[in-house]
């Protein structure tokens, strides 16, 4: 008989799994070579990576010029990217045309923004309640710091630009579109016909037209609807339009969450004697908002990306600054570097937002995972 027979039942020693299903060989076999089709896929993928990565690395790093006074100097040094361009214009990319001696105010606002974000984003912060009060006050403090007046030198808003402008539009939109969106969603779910119809028409109108047309409305015809002689700051008009636009989308996301809450929850709140707003605030909204987190963060990301559209009506966000710079003979034709740089900035911000939303979903998960 063979060797196996010499073990008594239940006394077979625990052998390691076969060599070809564990460790690196097992992983490679399982993932890349498990079937003929899989082998073809692996080959195609490898070919694709080989086709994309080496030239990209070469263009980005190896054959790139990091210093140089203008594009000709860059081109003489290397055939790839000319990062000297981005380096020289970095101040402009960050602050736009904000006066150099006042830029500490922008930096201070940024630090204050980071401080305001801490209590909003994380809940194990000491004295979180006061932190949240501060976060609510922050947009107004920042507006005072950036625009000036009341003891600070006033800076006209057409000097705003660069990443600073992106952050201003993005943060304002995010801060104000959530509450407006909640009100609109509640309006849409309301049983009162006039309130329902107003909310529905507003939301459907906003969602039915592209943001760029709303920005055109803001820049070309909004003045007609204001009292004669009044002049309305362009940046403020843009901020209002972007906020309203995002709140239309936000309302639909939150409505999805509201609809997912069982009617029993509202009935239970009624039975406890809660009034409409208390029932919403204490029972319905906390659950609805929790379900809608992925959608809310997606709307934030969309809003943040949409801030680039302001270049079309002449505001100078990084893309606008860069497009003006590459039209200059000194750095003419370096548009690829510009777009890659701006893309990188947006990728970093938006990717971290989506990661945070994953973290939040995990944290708020109170249900039973199957």
């Amino acid at each position: 008989m063979s060797e196996q027979a010499s073990y008594k039942p239940g006394e077979h020693p625990e052998l390691p799994p076969p060599a070809n299903v564990r460790g690196i060989t097992g992983w490679v076999r399982g993932n890349f070579l498990s079937s003929p089709f899989n082998i073809i896929l692996s080959a195609l993928s490898l070919w694709f990576l080989w086709w994309v990565i080496p030239p990209a690395v070469d263009w980005f790093f190896i054959d790139a010029a990091y210093t140089g006074a203008d594009r000709n100097e860059c081109r003489a040094k290397a055939g790839g990217a000319c990062w000297a361009f981005v380096g020289e214009r970095l101040q402009l990319f960050t602050y736009g045309f904000y006066p150099a001696e006042e830029r500490w105010r922008v930096n201070l606002s940024f630090v204050l923004l980071c401080l305001a974000l801490v209590p909003v984003l994380f809940d194990h912060v000491p004295h979180r309640k006061y932190g949240l009060y501060y976060a609510v006050a922050f947009p107004f403090i920042a507006a005072w710091l950036l625009i000036g007046g009341f003891g600070l030198t006033p800076v006209p808003t057409d000097k705003f630009g660069g990443f600073m402008l992106t952050l201003i539009i993005g943060v304002t939109g995010i801060a104000f579109s959530l509450p407006i969106g909640i009100v609109l969603a509640l309006g849409r779910m309301s049983k009162l016909p006039i309130i329902h119809i107003s909310a529905v028409s507003f939301i459907e109108f906003i969602r039915g037209v592209p943001l760029i047309t709303l920005l055109f409305v803001a820049s070309t015809m909004l003045n007609y609807f204001l009292p004669p002689g009044s002049n309305f700051d362009l940046l403020l008009r843009v901020l209002i339009m972007v906020t309203l636009f995002a709140s239309g989308y936000m309302a639909e996301v939150i409505r999805g969450g509201l609809q997912a809450i069982a009617t029993g929850q509202v009935e239970a709140a009624d039975a406890l004697g809660l009034k409409y707003w208390s029932a919403m605030r204490l029972v319905v909204l906390p659950q609805a908002l929790k379900i809608s987190i992925p959608g809310i963060v997606n709307t934030f990301i969309g809003l943040y990306k949409d801030t680039t559209l302001v270049i079309i009506i002449g505001l100078l966000d990084p893309l606008g600054i860069g497009r003006a710079s590459v039209a200059d003979t000194k750095w003419a034709g370096l548009s690829t570097e510009l777009y890659v740089f701006v893309a990188l900035f947006f990728f970093v911000s938006c990717f971290s937002m989506s990661r945070y939303s994953l973290y939040l979903e995990g944290k708020l998960e109170t249900g039973h995972k199957r």
């Binding site: 049983k191 006039i194 055109f216 015809m221 007609y224 009292p227 990301i301 893309l319 497009r323 777009y339």
Partner: protein, 395 residues
């Protein structure tokens, strides 16, 4: 005195505590607020327009536009009226939207399936692509693709030749233009007859199966009627389409259709961008169908193909279609960014050059907003109809 005020106060508070009365009061207040707001704006608009000496009229639409449009599907010259420019804008928007929807859907399904692949590399490539594309603004994509395209493509003299009649250069893609001979309408007639026959055959087959349980090869018969028969007739009639192939004349091409680089850049950028979102939707849809469904249908003795057709795909589509339609809508709305690279869509024609030339901001913007609203509402109406059709029938 005191008792009277107390009763009055009582009446008010009773009114407020009555649910119906309260809802009526709230609605009336809202309505008055909205009307006051719009009335105020309308009054301002009237005063402002009067001060500028402008009326509100659409008569300017019939005056000559005085500008050129580089891509037109119908006859147009700079002496044509603004309304014709608007129609061309609409056609250009719809052209890029339809082309974009088709390419984005194909790429999106590919990305979604790749993302679920068992192959580590394939799945990761798809993941990286989707994450990169979704986290960068679509305007940056459009500008980047346009910049790369214009720079990478050669002059018309050294144009890349694809196949027999397609020329790629920095002036755009020159494609052969089909010229239809009268006999071609015969092919069209056969095609229409084929579609009607396929529809009828499908119903007949379903009825037959209900009655007797016998299944007919619906797919192959429909394919033959819709594609095979017209092709056969096409060759019997002696290929009644002549292709007008473009040829290099001087510094540019003549003849054939031209697809402007702006169109190609916008089309590619919008498709590549939307495909990333569609990829995630497709992945979610496929994952949403529990594996138990496949096992159950295998237990019922359905073949693999029938399992896919009758069990998995219908359930996955129920999850996929609503967000997919809203992505189509987004693509259409994003096509308004055409103005950044000079493609003449709705916003660039009536909302851009016409607006600047005539100074009729209000009228132009009203037209643009209404056009986009009607496109969006049409797509939403379709979506609601489809949702109703595929909704789960519950007890």
């Amino acid at each position: 005195m005191t008792t009277q005020t107390a009763t009055q106060r009582n009446a008010v508070s009773r009114l407020w505590n009555n649910k119906e009365a309260r809802s009526v009061i709230i609605q009336i207040i809202t309505l008055i607020g909205i009307l006051l707001f719009f009335g105020y704006m309308a009054r301002n608009a009237v005063v402002n327009l009067e001060a500028l000496g402008k009326g509100f009229s659409f008569a300017f639409l019939f005056q000559p536009a005085n500008y050129d449009i580089n891509q037109t599907f119908i006859e147009y010259s700079s002496r044509s009226p603004h309304i014709r420019a608007t129609v061309i804008g609409i056609m250009n928007t719809l052209a890029v939207a339809v082309a974009g929807v088709i390419l984005a859907t194909l790429l999106g399904f590919l990305l979604g399936v790749m993302r679920l692949s068992k192959n580590y590399l394939t799945a990761k490539i798809s993941y990286c692509y989707i994450e990169y594309v979704r986290n960068v603004p679509v305007l940056v994509h459009i500008l980047m693709v346009h910049g790369l395209l214009v720079r990478a493509l050669p002059n018309p003299r050294d144009a890349l030749v694809i196949g027999d009649g397609v020329f790629l250069s920095n002036r755009g893609a020159q494609v052969p233009k089909p010229v239809f001979e009268p006999l071609f309408w015969g092919v069209v007639a056969v095609f229409i007859a084929g579609v009607i026959f396929a529809w009828w055959f499908r119903r007949y087959a379903a009825q037959l199966q209900d009655r007797t349980g016998r299944a007919l090869p619906v797919f192959w018969v429909s394919l033959g009627a819709v594609v095979g028969a017209p092709l056969l007739v096409y060759f019997i009639l002696g290929s009644p389409i002549v292709w007008e192939v473009p040829a290099l004349k001087g510094f540019n091409f003549a003849g054939g259709y031209v697809l402007r680089p702006e169109f190609i850049a916008l089309w590619l950028a919008l498709s590549l961008y939307t495909a990333a979102f569609i990829g995630e939707i497709v992945r979610a849809g496929i994952l949403a169908v529990d594996y138990g469904q496949t096992e159950a249908s295998a237990a019922l003795g359905l073949s693999r193909g029938r399992t896919l057709n009758l069990v998995v795909i219908p359930q996955a589509l129920r999850v996929i279609v609503p967000p997919l339609t809203s992505q189509y809508l987004n693509l259409t709305k994003n096509s308004s960014l055409a103005i950044a690279i000079g493609y003449m869509d709705i916003v660039a024609t009536i909302g851009g050059i016409s607006l600047n030339q005539t100074g009729r901001e209000m009228e132009c913007m009203v037209i643009v907003l209404m056009l986009y609203l009607s496109i969006s509402l049409a797509i939403s109406a379709f979506m609601n109809w489809y949702n109703k059709r595929i909704k789960l029938v519950e007890r």
